[in-house]
Amino acid sequence: MSPRLVALVGTALLLVGSRVSAAQTLSVVPLTASTLTVTSAVAGQQPTAVSGSGGTYAVVTLNKTAYTTITARLSAPLPANTTLSVTLASPGSGAVSMGAVQLTTSAQPVVTGLPSRLNASGNSITYTFSATSAAGVLSQPVSVIFALAP
């Protein structure tokens, strides 16, 4: 193979590689969110749910065949009689936030309609944690897995 041909093939592959590399990324900051603590109740009613920031997320989609949805799920079930919901703000460009989505161990859409060319960061993540009186007293870390999906 001639050196010129090597250069041309290399350049072509480089372009393909670059397109693939930038196709899609999803990241959150921080990786460890603040603790959500239920601390109060109105007498006669279930404890008051608490909401807190989960930081922000960034998403990049540059490939037409890539992902259009962000999903979220738990790595393991929550303690009994508790629920955790997450809201991801829309990254704009026509993408739609699904609002507060109650998390389970099954992936559920939290943002849909991601355009094929999107580079958005600083989009807010908000969690809401609730517990009934039957949940008792507890403290437990949980892992929330966000993913890009077709």
Partner: protein, 166 residues
């Protein structure tokens, strides 16, 4: 010339390697850790301001006691074995007794029935476990002996306290 082209080829391949390396690092999922917690919660509330007046007696007997069941109470606890106590800030005049009975919530709690209130707290409901319940009955009873004489209308504050379980 060939040397320059060869260098371009090498550069391209090097950049390709870099590009593919970036490709391998493309991240389509990420995990965030969130700690969820619930603190001990013990809340009670009482509604109503009953008024009790003794007005009659059967001849030869002490005055007839009166009761009022217009007040209610509510409780939320996420602990096991919480209890409610009651007391008044200052003692009633001699011969006057104010008693209270709290209805027990569900789930195995036990009402102590009608208990005379004094400056020392008395148990009214015990064994309250992990519940949220309202509209529970409160019954006050005022009794007096003939020796108590006439008592002008005097407000009394009853203090209820919930003590958390475990």
């Amino acid at each position: 010339m060939n040397t320059r082209i060869a260098r371009r080829g090498a550069l391209a391949i090097a950049l390709l390697t870099f590009g593919l390396a970036r490709s391998a690092s493309a991240q389509t999922s990420t995990t965030q850790s969130v700690t969820v917690a619930v603190n001990a919660i013990n809340q009670i509330a009482f509604t109503g301001s009953p008024s009790l007046t003794i007005t009659t007696a059967a001849a030869g007997s002490n005055p007839t006691s009166v009761s009022d069941a217009s007040a209610t109470w509510a409780v939320t606890t996420n602990q096991t074995g919480a209890k409610i106590t009651g007391s008044i800030a200052s003692a009633l005049p001699a011969g006057i007794t104010l008693s209270v009975s709290l209805a027990a919530p569900t789930g195995g709690a036990v009402s102590a029935g009608s208990q005379a209130l004094g400056t020392t707290a008395v148990d009214l409901v015990t064994g309250i476990t992990k519940l949220a319940q309202g509209s529970l009955g409160v019954t006050y009873t005022l009794s007096a002996t003939a020796a108590a004489g006439v008592l002008s209308s005097t407000p009394r504050v009853v203090t209820y306290t919930i003590t958390g379980g475990t």
